[in-house]
Symmetry: C3
Subunit: 249 residues, 3 copies
C-alpha cells in the first residue's frame, strides 16, 4: 500500500452526478488542492454539451471514466462519486481496481449487482424519468421546484437559480440501465467511505441514502457533512473537508 501519511500528496478523481458537469465540482476541488493534493474533475459521456441523449448509456459513462484513469495513468486514486456518480465509480472499480485506493461515495447510489439507479429511488422518481424520456426523446430534466426544495434546500433563491442554470439534461439510459457487477461491492478489496450530507433530502429521509445504501458497502468509513445534496454549490469547504476525511489513508 502506498502513502498512509495524512500530509502526503494524494490523487483525487471527483465524479459528478446526473445533470452536473465536472466544472460544478471545481470549487470543492480547489479547496482539496489547497491541501496539496492532485484533483481531477472530468465531465463524462452523457453530460457533455451536444451529447446524444437518446443513445448514450450508463456503460458509455463508465467506459469514459475508465479511459480517463488509464489515459492519465492515475494510480492510488481516491475515487469519489456524487449521487449518480456512485454508479460510475462502482462500475469503474471492478474494471481497474489496481488503480483505486479508495472509493468515496457522497450521497451516492451503491448498486447491487444488476441494479439500475432507478431501482434505488422512490416509485415517483421512476415515473418522472419514464414520462420525461417519452416527452423529450431520452433526455431527463430536473424540474425547478424539485431542485429548489429537495436538492438545494440550503441555498438562497438566487444561488438555487444560478446553479440550476448550469445543469444539463441527462440521458434516460443512465438511470435505467442495469450495472452488471460480478460481485457485491462489499466483496471488493478496496477501501470504501460514505459521506452523508445530513440535510440532503433528494432521497426522502424515510428512504435515505444512509444507512440504506451505504451499508451495501460492507465495512466502510462514515463521514457526516453539513448541507444538502448540492453542498458542492452551497458549502464546498465542508464538502472538501469531508472528502479528505473520507479519502485519507
Amino acid at each position: 500500500m502506498a502513502n498512509n501519511n495524512s500530509s502526503s500528496k494524494d490523487t483525487y478523481v471527483l465524479v459528478h452526478g446526473a445533470w452536473h458537469t465536472g466544472e460544478t465540482l471545481e470549487p470543492t476541488a480547489r479547496i482539496i488542492r489547497e491541501q496539496g493534493h492532485d484533483v481531477h474533475c472530468p465531465t463524462l459521456a452523457g453530460n457533455r454539451p451536444g451529447d446524444d441523449y437518446a443513445k448514450l448509456s450508463l456503460q458509455d459513462a463508465i467506459d469514459d471514466l475508465v479511459a480517463y484513469l488509464e489515459k492519465n495513468d492515475l494510480k492510488d486514486v481516491r475515487l469519489m462519486g456524487h449521487s449518480y456518480g456512485g454508479m460510475l465509480i462502482s462500475g469503474a472499480a471492478e474494471r481497474v481496481p489496481e488503480r483505486i485506493r479508495r472509493l468515496v461515495y457522497v450521497n451516492a447510489f451503491v448498486p447491487n449487482p444488476g441494479e439500475c439507479l432507478a431501482d434505488m429511488t422512490p416509485p415517483n422518481f421512476r415515473e418522472l424519468f419514464d414520462a420525461m424520456n417519452k416527452a423529450n426523446n431520452g433526455a431527463v430534466v430536473l424540474p425547478y421546484p424539485i431542485w429548489r426544495e429537495a436538492f438545494i434546500n440550503d441555498a438562497d433563491g438566487e444561488l438555487a437559480q444560478k446553479a440550476y442554470d448550469v445543469l444539463h439534461p441527462q440521458p434516460y439510459r443512465c438511470f435505467v440501465d442495469p450495472l452488471p457487477l460480478k460481485a457485491p461491492l462489499a466483496a471488493l478489496e478496496i477501501g470504501k467511505s460514505y459521506v452523508n450530507c445530513v440535510e440532503d433530502t433528494a432521497m426522502p429521509h424515510s428512504l435515505p441514502w444512509h444507512p440504506r445504501l451505504s451499508e451495501r458497502l460492507g465495512l466502510f468509513r462514515y463521514v457526516a457533512c453539513a448541507g444538502s445534496h448540492e453542498s458542492l454549490f452551497t458549502q464546498p469547504e465542508a464538502l472538501a473537508k469531508a472528502i479528505i476525511a473520507a479519502g485519507r489513508d
Copy 2:
C-alpha cells in the same frame, strides 16, 4: 409571485406552541427583524392569561389566527408554526391561502384531515392529557421533569426553570379536537418547509417529527437546526437563521 429576492423585506408570522405565548418567540423574532423583515408573534386564544380552559377549542385558536392575519391585512406571509402551532397554521392555510406565501413547520404537527394533535403522539401522551383534563377541569400542564429532560434538554438547569415559569396551562380541547381539513396538506398549492431541531426529543426519536410528520407535506424544503424542542429559549439565533432559510423565496 412576489419578491423572490433574499434581501427583500418579508413578512413572518410566528405561531407559538402549546403552553407558550407569542412573547416566548420574541428573542427569535428580534433576530429575524434585524435582517430587515417584519415579524409578528401573536398570542392566540387558549394561551392568554385568564382564558377559560374548559371551553376554548382548537377552532377558537385557528379563528383567532385567521382574524389576526385579516385585521392586519397581512399578505405574502411566511407563516411559521412551532409544535402545536402546526395545527393552527394548517387550519389557517385552508381558510386564507391567498395571504400565505409559505408554511414553515418547526418541529410541528402536520395533521391528516380529521386528525387531532393527540393522534400524532405516543399513547402515553394521550393518557397524560386525559388524566390532566379530568383532574384540572380542562387544563393540561406539562410536568417539570418531562419539560426539563425531553423538551429543553439543551438548557442548563437555571434556564430550564426560568422558561418553565412562563408557561401557561393549555386547554385540553386543543389536543383532542380533530382538524377537519378539506384535503391533505400536500395538495395545498403553497410552498412548505420543515425545520427540524435535531436534538428535539419531545417526540421520541423512534416516532420522530421528521420524516414521520414532515413527509405529509408532499414536496417540502427541509432545514436542519441545532437544539432541542425549545430552541426558541436555548438558541434563538440558530432558530431565526433556520426560519429564514425555510421561509425565503
Copy 3:
C-alpha cells in the same frame, strides 16, 4: 436533592469502554475539571495490564466500580459509561443508587434485565467474539480495519494508529455474561442522560445506539455530540461539553 446550580462543583466518574483504560478518558476529564468539577477515571478489572482474560467476568468489573465509589466515598455522582461502560454503570446503579445523582450513557449499552452486551450487537459481532475467545484463550482483540473504519472514522490515519496502540485485549466474559438486573433501568429512580456522538458507526446506523438502546432508559435527557465512537480521542472538547450538558442538574 443536592446542588442544582450549573456553576456548582460536581463529581464525575467516567467509566471506559471495552479495550480502553481510564487513562484514555483523561483528555476529556481534564476539560471537565477545567470547569471546576471533580473527575475520576478508574481503570476497572478486566482492563488492567496483566489481567487474567480467561477468568475475569462482567461482575468483577462491576464489583470493582462499586468498590471504587465506596472506597472514595463518592456521593451525588454523575456516573458516565462509554460503550461497554454502560453495562458497568447499569450494574453499579442497582447496587449503590444512593451514591449516584445521574447516569450518563455515551454511545453505551443499556441492557434489559438478563441481557449480555453481545445480545445488543449485530450477529457478526457475536461470531467475531466467539471466534476470538477460542483462538486467544478468552481475550478479544479489535481488528485494526474495524477500529479504523467503524470506530475512529473521524481520525486521521496517524491518530487512528496511535490510539489503537494503547488498547488492551478484553475478557470475553465481559461481552457474554448476562447482567442480572432486578428491574428495567427505566424503573430506577435516578436521572438518566444519553449522549449520542452522531458520526458513531460502531453500531451500524440500521441498528443504532440511539434511539434503539437509549429509549430503554424511559424518560431521559438526550444530548447530541459531534464525532465518532472514539470522540474521547478525536474531539475530547466536544465530548466533555456534552457530558457536562448531560450531567448538570
